[in-house]
Amino acid sequence: MFRKRPPPEEERRLRANDREYNEKFQYASNCIMTSKYNIITFLPVNLFEQFQEVANTYFLFLLILQLIPQISSLSWFTTIVPLVLVLSITAVKDATDDYFRHKSDNQVNNRQSQVLIGGILQKEKWMNVRVGDIIKLENNQFVAADLLLLSSSEPHSLCYIETAELDGETNMKVRQSLSVTSELGDPNNLAQFDGEVVCEPPNNKLDRFCGTLYWKDCKYPLSNQNMLLRGCVLRNTESCYGLVIFAGPDTKLMQNSGRTKFKRTSIDRLMNTLVLWIFGFLVCMGVILAIGNAVWEKEVGALFQSFLPWDPPVDNFLFSAFLSFWSYVIILNTVVPISLYVSVEVIRLGHSYFINWDRRMFCSRSNTAAEARTTTLNEELGQVEYIFSDKTGTLTQNIMTFNKCSINGRAYGEVMDILGAQKKRVQPLDFSAWNPLADRDFCFYDQSLLEAVMVGEPAVHEFFRVLSLCHTVMSEEKKEGVLVYKAQSPDEGALVTAARNFGFVFRSRTPGTVTTQELGKAVTYTLLAILDFNNIRKRMSVIVRNPAGRIRLYCKGADTVLFERLHSCSHELMNITSDHLNEYAADGLRTLAVAYRDLSEEQWEAWAERFNGADKATDCRDDRLSAAYEEIEQDMMLLGATAVEDKLQDGVPETIAVLSLANIKVWVLTGDKQETAVNIGYSCKMLTDDMTEIFIVNGHTVQSVREELRKSRERMLESARTRDGGKEVEAQGWGGACAFGNGCGAGGASNWVSNESKCSPPQAPPSSFLESISGEFALIISGHSLAHALEADMEREFLETACACRAVICCRVTPLQKALVVELVKRHKKAVTLAIGDGANDVSMIKTAHIGVGISGQEGIQAVLASDYSFSQFRFLQRLLLVHGRWSYLRMCRFLCYFFYKNFAFTMVHFWFGFFCGFSAQTVYDQYFITLYNIVYTSLPVLAMGLFDQDVPEQRSLEYPKLYEPGQLNLLFNKREFFICIAQGIYTSVVLFFIPYGVLSHATQSNGVPLADYQTFAVTTATALVIVVSVQIALDTGYWTAINHFFIWGSLGTYFTILFAMHSSILFNIFPKQFHFLGSAHNTLGQPVVWLTIALATVICIAPVLAFRFLKLDLKPQLSDTVRYTQLVLQKKQKPCGRVGRGVGGAGVASGSALGRLGRGGSRRSGYAFAHQEGFGELITSGKNMRMSSLALASFASRHSSNWIDTLRRKKHANSTGMQNTPPTGEDSAASSQAPPLSTSSSPAGKAGQACYEYVLTHSPDDIALSVIRSPEREVGEYSTGTVQEAPFVWKGTGARINGASSPGPPPIAEETSSGE
């Protein structure tokens, strides 16, 4: 931290194998240091940092003031005790954090790497690697620094890396060295290598690198394609050599791990404003009292000098007033006590722990509990208005399951829907009996399909043959019979796996052949051509020659595309299949049609010629290729169609329903295609058939986008008008339109406003008006339209339109656009936003939103690392927001209200006393009382309230999502509430001063001794204060747990204990000066008058509050009050029986409806969404990546967890590394089932007997399947591919492994192999 920073580099220049030369530049070594302190610097640096907090400095300043005797109205310890407490707690926390950072730094720095020194490979610690060194990497090793790839053991000097730690993408990336260096090969040659690299200075752009290699008088440009970045893991590459370009802190990884922006909650900001106001108030009071002091000293004090001379430096009343100002600042500072900040932190920490501890946010499948990674945002969770969600992996599981198919006009896979929910208990088909190569995780229920295969229906065979041949999947077979598929897209994996289980096992491929095992018989096809997929073609084909020598083209693709290219004799079949496809699409399945075409030898040869010509063409190669493809993909025979389910995560539709009932708007931002996104929108009930209208904005130009947006707004207004019969809305609309027109005209924002005359019929209503339209609209906007919509001059329009819709889906958006959308809403709507996602592409929006939530255990850890909260299931979001967030908000608000109240009540008494003590800053209370009031007497009850309070039980907040609204509207703590609290506090202080004043000024003890002495007065007031605030907290506490009882009664008890102890003769005899209140407690509290006074003051303080609250509750009850009240009534007359039956009865219905997806017309018939990119086919045929299949796949299983990076990045949570490493065990999935997603009912009314009801409802499909599948014999963790039907948790992992061609599964799944029974 104090190291001198060298001037920023302009460019980097280094020479390989030349340490001397490179040393000139003083590049950073590869030693990283993420720790902030060492033993010596800890204290000063930490203190320095802590005193950068305004609050701490403020208290230090007060402390210094108190050391001046003329000012000091309080002893120094009243400030220093809390201050030291706070500082040391923070210091301890920082120290622990730093200790763990040291540990992880050490671990990383001491990793071994092989460095080429003097022509020999030597083991060196990572930290000793220098820029310019050449190091050797082996498979599965972490890349030690940012390297220029020189050569690798693979053909073409390719090298595969996994960048999950860097950008979160789990698919593998290919890197290739320059051809000149790839020839260097062995260490001897490399040692001679003296190329010089000139490149850009260190930066944090992960996807960009530019530089030049100078070697042997030649220049070679370098790009990111040649770079291996630190943090990546080498995969499927035996070894490679790299030249260190950036080391240690200069690496892109480290440059990226900058301190994340500190997020603050709105309550935080409000609190800071309020604290500033209070300081202003404090100064005002100080000034008033100082003026009072001046007047008093002049009028009275000057005359009183014979008894009370001024302190030496004071020679006139003005100076005295000046000092008195500071004295009052000291004694009145308790309006903002230091304990406020500490308590707030403690409460937030507590809430975070409650989130971490929540069993209902624990996913047994991935064995991850929810984690609050940021402890400071909890109450904001109760105020969320907009949720921005990623689709893949967040709403969906990113698992494709082969669900249904239609072969030759017959539909298979319908079994459950026909026979009803009960039949779900049916075992999935057991393939392994007759097919040893079957994937055990694959589930299919329809026996008839298997029978059809057995019987040997040719169409069925051909159908699966297509699936087993026409794809770009790679297979691994390390052990005989144990196949692992690595597919580009999960869809493909699902299809190939389906074929595999039905006896058409794809086993291996070479660039020219595909070997399958067809019903136990090995068949090798000659692969003649792969007609690769692309987005325009929407299909892919292969042309193969079977062993018998017949040539066939197999094609699969989107039905719309494929149906156009069918042979005319297929038309009848096409119609039937089309019906099936409609059904599938209505169920939200991703469909695809399958066809073949027989080719004669001549046809093939003729075409092959043209194809080769096109392939070799230098100009317009792509166009010519696709023309060639087009040519051959004609007159195909339809075989059937597949339906793959993009599995939603559990409870997604219910969650979305509940969230939208809570008035939270869910926007889906996805990189997926429009069709897919819309499909998912339907299946998760964001879009429904009863929506008034769905607007699709798909324009490519500014004008068209603007036009489309305008039209949708018009339509909204129209429909509103027609429905509401006009009048009222019309009037509003007109008024609103005018207002808006003016406002917008001033901003000069958009054309359409200025074009319209200002008060024209409501074409340009304000967003608030639009939002008030009751229609159900949805907006779907694509990425290229969004690019225009997010321009400065259109963003408002877009926002208004979008915000008026109930559902917004943005598809094909880039990560940056995701962030921009979030930013837009954040900026203009002043609403709390939450972004949820699982992948690296969500990081930007997660960081931008007020609250970022990462889905853990899915796609790498990038999103989780950037997030504030993480859990593994989307459905936990409802619990996080509606239960934890709501409570946090409620608790925090109640806490703050009470806290300000109690401190004003406490402090303002000094103000009133000032008028009676010559404005001399004499305190009313004993100084010990002042010291202990905030940290002992009143801290714990309010803390307990802040931690444990509940207005309604958790189930209710899910049943009544409307309960969430006060948070969104910021009703519980705002400036108004604050002033009410303050007013109440001041009122209390008035009562607490003037009641004892009125009573005691004349009262005497029963033995005649006057009660009006200072000490008696102090004890009386203090006792009354403690009792009043205790009664108040008792009134505020809505949920009296044993802890609350203990704290409240304990605080009172502690007060009296300490009071009597402090006023005892024992302490006095030891320190007569410090404890001069000797006997006061005894003398005072023995007097009935004093107790009568205290009782009087308490009643006067509390009665109005009680009356006010009662009236509010009685006349204008909030929903929470009503719910609470009803709860109470019901509790009193518990009727536990009779509901069970009803619940069960309801369950059947509920599960039925949960099962059945909305049937819809063909309007949204889905095309097959090829999720993968094109170009993979080429890679296969070129044989470039063939190496992969031969490689030891162990790497996938034994993926190292990279703890150090976790630690490095999670600054705050150093303790929770390696979170995902514990393998799930067989039994615990059983345990998982009992944590049902809480009531997911979307209809709050008429729901009784939740216990049974919810249980069945949420479990109906899955639980049962679970119990079946999870039999003890079940063998877990073979490397088998397969898709899972109807049992989503068995295994999410499979899906991840399917796409394992490009990505190994997430750690927990990978490890599962080793833990299998």
Partner: protein
């Protein structure tokens, strides 16, 4: 309408229990404890009409009688107050107050006569009262050395800095030091009953038992332990500047002299407010049936030592009897009656509002 949607049973966690126990030990599943799952059993009070309204009535019904009781008790107390500051030309003490100087050696005396129209039956407490005297001023309050007053020898020689500027005088430590002690009230008050015959009977004034017993026994101690020779003990100290005589001559009796002089202790217990009274003497009730102070004429002889004119202070003498709850204190009784009535009234108003506008109709049918 809300009723139907409720289940009385807290289903919460019921079915999750047994399965959770079966979870493997290695799972990260959070513990299923009531605390961690926020299911601690709790009492959830609600402000309902059934609780709030009775509370108001009960408060009212308790407070009003207490108030009446207090008021009556307070009214039965005899109290007589006489101002003897002497600011008025007509006042007998006018001269004394005008001719005051700290250094005067001859005491100025004045006699005030007054008439008690009611006999004082029980023990009578005699107070002196000061007004506009800021015993609660911060600088005043802290200007004392409790160690010294507790008999600490070192503090006797070396008083605390807090005592400045009354810490030392002519290089000798002041005992007792500080502004409080320095400004000790030193008027002497004697009370005479004027018999109908015209002769004066001095009323015996008891000067013991006027301080807090803890002060007398623990807080204040003469230095030198039990050494009866206070003169020797205080040998090397100076008397406070304003005092006429040193601390060891405050009284003739050994157990009421020096720091443990009760008048001194009473003075050192600073008042909370600028107008205060302090107990001066107690007139014990005689054993016979005659009142302590019968109705009639009295004269109060004041040895006027204490100046208050400079800061417009007032001096008073108060004679009062007391009851179980202390001296005359009408405020408390009135306050209780008022608050009690208001609470009761509030209860009525709330009841009315609740009946007329109350929003709980929907839930009352659940209850029925």
């Amino acid at each position: 309408m809300m009723a139907s949607s409720y289940s009385a049973k807290e289903e919460d966690g019921h079915h999750s229990g047994p399965a959770g126990l079966g979870a493997a030990t290695r799972t990260r599943k959070p513990d299923n404890t009531a605390f961690k799952q926020q299911r601690l059993p709790a009492w959830q009070p609600i402000l309902t009409a059934g609780t709030v309204l009775p509370a108001f009535f009960i408060i009212g019904l308790i407070f009003i009688p207490i108030g009446i009781g207090l008021y009556v008790t307070s009214n039965n107390i005899n109290e007589f107050e006489i101002d003897y500051t002497g600011t008025d030309m007509s006042s007998p003490c006018f001269n004394c107050s005008q001719n005051f100087s700290w250094n005067s050696t001859t005491p100025c005396k004045c006699v005030l006569s007054f008439y008690l129209d009611q006999p004082f039956e029980s023990n009578v407490f005699m107070y002196y009262g000061l007004s506009n005297f800021y015993q609660n001023h911060r600088r005043y309050v802290k200007s004392r050395d409790d160690s010294q007053l507790n008999g600490d020898e070192r503090s006797l020689k070396e008083p605390s800095k807090e005592c400045e500027p009354y810490r030392t005088n002519e290089n000798k430590p002041i005992a007792p030091c500080g502004a409080i002690a320095n400004s000790m009230f030193n008027d002497t008050l004697d009370l005479f009953y004027i018999n109908p015959s015209g002769s004066k009977t001095q009323i015996p004034l008891n000067k013991k038992g006027i301080a807090w017993s803890t002060d007398k026994r623990v807080k204040f101690r003469n230095p030198g332990g039990s050494n009866p020779n206070l003169t020797a003990v205080f040998k090397d100290t100076a008397k406070p500047v304003n005092w006429h005589k040193p601390v060891y001559e405050l009284d003739s009796e050994a157990d009421n002299n020096g720091f443990i002089n009760e008048d001194f202790i009473v003075w050192m217990r600073t008042a909370a407010l600028p107008t205060f009274r302090k107990l001066y003497r107690i007139i014990q009730k005689n054993n016979n049936m005659t009142p302590t102070l019968p109705r009639g004429n009295y004269s109060l002889e004041v040895t006027y030592n204490y100046p208050v004119r400079s800061f417009e202070g007032r001096k008073r003498v108060i004679l009062s009897t007391i009851s179980w709850m202390g001296g005359k204190n009408p405020f408390l009784g009135i306050a209780y009656m008022t608050v009690g009535s208001i609470c009761f009234f509030l209860g009525v108003v709330l009841l009315f509002i609740h009946h007329k506008y109350g929003n709980r109709n929907n839930s009352s049918d659940i209850a029925s």
